[in-house]
């Protein structure tokens, strides 16, 4: 719990209200981490193949798993829209795909964390593959059909880097949970 629900506004003392206002940035942490990883994706690496992993999407999925209330599909839509603007794609390609995959992740969330890390990883591979398959029709809908086969390499690097991204997000969650304000004591 990185951002505990506040007490009712009417019952807050001025001191509590101040503390609550100063802690609202915690609600934005999942979004900010996802945007940061998106910015990392346009790092000028001299690669001639599309091998940069989908860091932004994986961060969105990790937060949809860890904090579903702070990463709803409509927020994933906004983050995907930023990705479109960043990569120079028609506005809506990544946005729609991010929102759909996050919604699916939300439906599948009860399956995660039950049968071990490998099964979680396998399910995530399927989600990422679905995303890669979804981008093609969406680009075609926007009038710019693209070859999809080169993205296979990106899928491979993505599934290889999932443990890193998931651990990174989990570490942030732990750090924030350790410093989460508790309203009962105040």
């Amino acid at each position: 719990m990185i951002a505990p629900p506040p007490p009712p506004a009417l019952l807050m003392t001025p001191q509590e209200r101040r503390r609550w206002l100063l802690s609202t940035w915690r609600y934005a942490v999942p979004m900010l981490v996802s945007l940061l990883l998106l910015l990392l994706m346009v790092m000028p690496v001299p690669l001639s193949v599309p091998a940069m992993p989908q860091l932004g999407l994986m961060a969105v999925l990790a937060w949809a798993l860890l904090q579903p209330s702070l990463m709803p599909p409509w927020l994933a839509f906004c983050i995907g829209g930023f990705a479109d603007l960043l990569f120079g794609l028609p506005l809506g390609v990544n946005a729609t795909a991010f929102a759909l995959i996050t919604g699916l992740m939300r439906l599948m969330a009860p399956l995660f964390g039950r049968s071990g890390l490998m099964v979680d990883w396998l399910m995530l591979c399927l989600l990422l593959l679905l995303f890669a398959g979804l981008v093609g029709p969406l680009m075609a809908l926007a009038g710019r059909p693209v070859p999809l086969l080169p993205l296979l390499l990106q899928w491979l690097t993505s599934i290889l880097s999932w443990p890193l991204v998931a651990r990174f997000c989990a570490a942030i969650q732990r750090r924030l949970a350790a410093s989460a304000p508790s309203w009962r004591a105040g």
């Binding site: 690669l47 860890l66 599909p73 409509w74 839509f77 960043l86």
Partner: protein, 324 residues
Amino acid sequence: MDWTPAPRRPTAIRRQQNLALLSAVVSGGVVAGGLILLLLARVNPDTAAGLRRTTADLVAPTWAVLRAPVDGLAALAEGIGDYFGAIDRARHLETELDTANARLRAARAGMEELRRLKALMRVRSPQREVVATARIAAATTGTVVRTAMLAVGTSDGVGEAMPVIGAEGLIGRTTEVGRNAARVLLITDPLSRVPVIVERTGQVGLAAGRNQPTLQLIDLSGATVPLVTGDRVVTSGDGGVYPPGVPVATVVDARAAAPVLRPAARLLGAGFVTVETAWLPVPATEPQGPVFDAPVPVEARRRGAPTPRLRDADAPPISNGTGG
């Protein structure tokens, strides 16, 4: 894996259920909105171009600053590496210089002849002009498109559809230009088509990207001379964006149905790239009013309606059955 504890009070449970329902409805709405946005982009590809420009303006200078220390380290490593094998390289370069000098002497006579012939034929060739020089600030190496960003924009004189050329060859062309950033469509992007000419055979064609390290030579026309591996492919100057004679690629697989090319330049290498003016910019034509079949009433003409243009030879009438 959700850490947030489930609420216990009935009001809180109901509130959470309502919020979940609202969130589901909003999420469905935004997905539908995204599909509508895509249709808009299909009808008008310039949708949100301004937003994209602004994003590039914000991101490209940031990365241009962030990559400086990395570039410095890379330059240092390169400088150390240069000391090893310097003697061998110097000897190799000396022999290369001798052969190059011999060729230059032979070419000098040809150049003089060409100058005289051009003067005789009154050939007018436009000049190449460098607008800006920059490093590649950011690049999309992980999406269905292959673009790069430069930290130069309209404030440096960079405009849309200008060729971007590196030391070793063609990099791409600018597509969207903001104040301080320009987006470059790399030649490996699936949308990129570069009019090229094969140096040895004189065949013309298009070098098409496909989001892979190599390009494809398509629409090859001219004498049916089989290509061989190692043939150099340079820009032909057709289309008016790229100046002629810029190295684009070399043929690596000539036997394929569409010959496979390897780009001459490392597209996202650490070197500087130059942005040049378009070779032959598209002349701005005056917008003309629609072609009228019926005469325009005098009252409408008094109020500023354009004068009617009659259908002529290059606009055949619809009744002809050709469909215009």
